[in-house]
Amino acid sequence: MMSLLKDFPSLPDNHLKNKMIVVTEISAADSGKLVLLFGAFDKEEARLLFTNDYQVYQLPFASTTVTREEIQALPLKEVGLILIKQDTKGLYLKQLAALRNLKLHVSIPIILYVNSDIKQNADQFKKFKVVDDVITSLDDFAELEFKVKFLQRYKQLASTKVTIPKHVTQVSKKTSYIIRRSFDIVVSSLLLLILSPVLLLIAIAVKLESKGPIFYISKRAGKHYRIFKFYKFRTMVVNADKKLKDLSHLNQYGSGTENSNAPSFLKIKDDPRITRVGSFLRNTSLDELPQLINVLLGHMSLVGNRPLPLYEAATLTSDHWANRFDAPAGMTGLWQIMKRGESDMSTEERIELDITYAKNNSLIFDLWIMVKTPFAMMQKSDV
């Protein structure tokens, strides 16, 4: 079927005109891979391909259009590139669209060769989704080969990516999500129900002691940096954030300079902004209970990483630290059960713990942390 034309440059002129498709082979790196030429390549262009170490094969097509049968008859497994010379009628492109549907050959790059200035036509060419790239000259062979190599690799990867049975991993992920979410909903609503008298008493106490709302609502970043409204019982007087400036001279960590942009790690002994009820709630961690609402609403999970204030989350936008945000935010977590006892844990160590949790995230691990949490809390109240 195929015949090797050993003496291509001396072909008779009418040879290329009559034969619509010339098949060439790259003899360099990808030996055995063919290049299909579609369209009326003139003798000079074909000679250019030939002088760049291409060997020319010819397929016996007589008609001016290619039928599907003729395409199927091509040795497509050997083809490494399809080069189409501009055709205004889009005849070959239609054939190539059919070729696309034969899944076996999706990894062959298809490059359109045009003479016109393609800047204006780029959008038009993109409509032919069959075409991977457009070239305007055959002179720069290094560039053509670079493109072909990249496209071959890309299309090879793309074709294998499609064949991976995606639903298998998706199903297991989805079921584990459903189990956890149901667990969160059931436990958080049960706890809210059981604790409702306690919550009500706390709410009344907060309301009675100082003016202001029952809840302190702040914005926090949870799973995948998603921002949500984070609920706590209010433990400070209203406008505590504004009063912070007036108290800066009491800050145990402070440098004292007012204009310093140093990280805002603030700790004040016997903070006067904290109310008496607030102090009790903080010591018993009861101020954290309204987070059950966040859990019920799906912002958080019972177990997870600590939801971070936005300024802190913004400092953790690097590849490594981003991993901590792969896990949901939680009321309790690895950090809460590990840190008790050793009071000084650096921010880095804490985030490493978060990443450890995110990587070992499983239902069993969560249950283990939940069991450990009450003990950790008892240890805390001793201190």
């Binding site: 457009v134 560039e143 793309a158 995948h224 936008t317 981003a322």
Partner: protein
């Protein structure tokens, strides 16, 4: 910001880290039409399926096809070389690479980054690239 869908600029985010991808999408989706890809391979797939972004925001260290490979190809391809590229990476230590590719990159944002800063710089590149393409090329 234009809320009108037709006037909104389109951005392709290429980032392999899931959380980072969500973050970038959330920062940009209020002002732009955003499509995401989890590596250079899916970015190519998105482009070849007809998505034509006004800007590509890409990470460098990624599996399959990495950021440098993607940039090197896009800037040679007649169909895509006009699209401005912003690199978002902590991998700028490979300085030799940066020298080679600088001419193709409109901006480099280093991780960790401040979300509002990223938004400003992306909109800056979009404004300047619009201006550049409106200027007639000499000769």
């Amino acid at each position: 910001m234009a809320r009108n869908n037709e006037n909104m600029k389109k951005i392709l985010i290429v980032e392999d880290n899931i959380s980072m991808r969500y973050l970038l999408e959330n920062i940009l989706k209020k002002s732009y039409i955003v499509r995401t890809a989890d590596d250079g391979l899916t970015a190519m797939m998105s482009l070849s399926q007809g998505f034509s972004p006004d800007l590509i925001l890409t990470d460098i260290n990624m599996p399959s096809i990495n950021g440098w490979e993607l940039i090197a190809y896009l800037k040679k391809s007649a169909l895509y070389k006009h699209i401005p590229i912003v690199v978002l990476s902590s991998a700028f230590l490979e300085e030799t690479k940066v020298e080679v590719e600088t001419e193709y990159i409109y901006d480099c944002i280093k991780k960790p980054f401040e979300p509002i800063d990223l938004l400003h710089r992306v909109s800056g590149v979009l404004k300047s690239s619009k201006y550049l393409s409106a200027v007639p090329v000499n000769n």
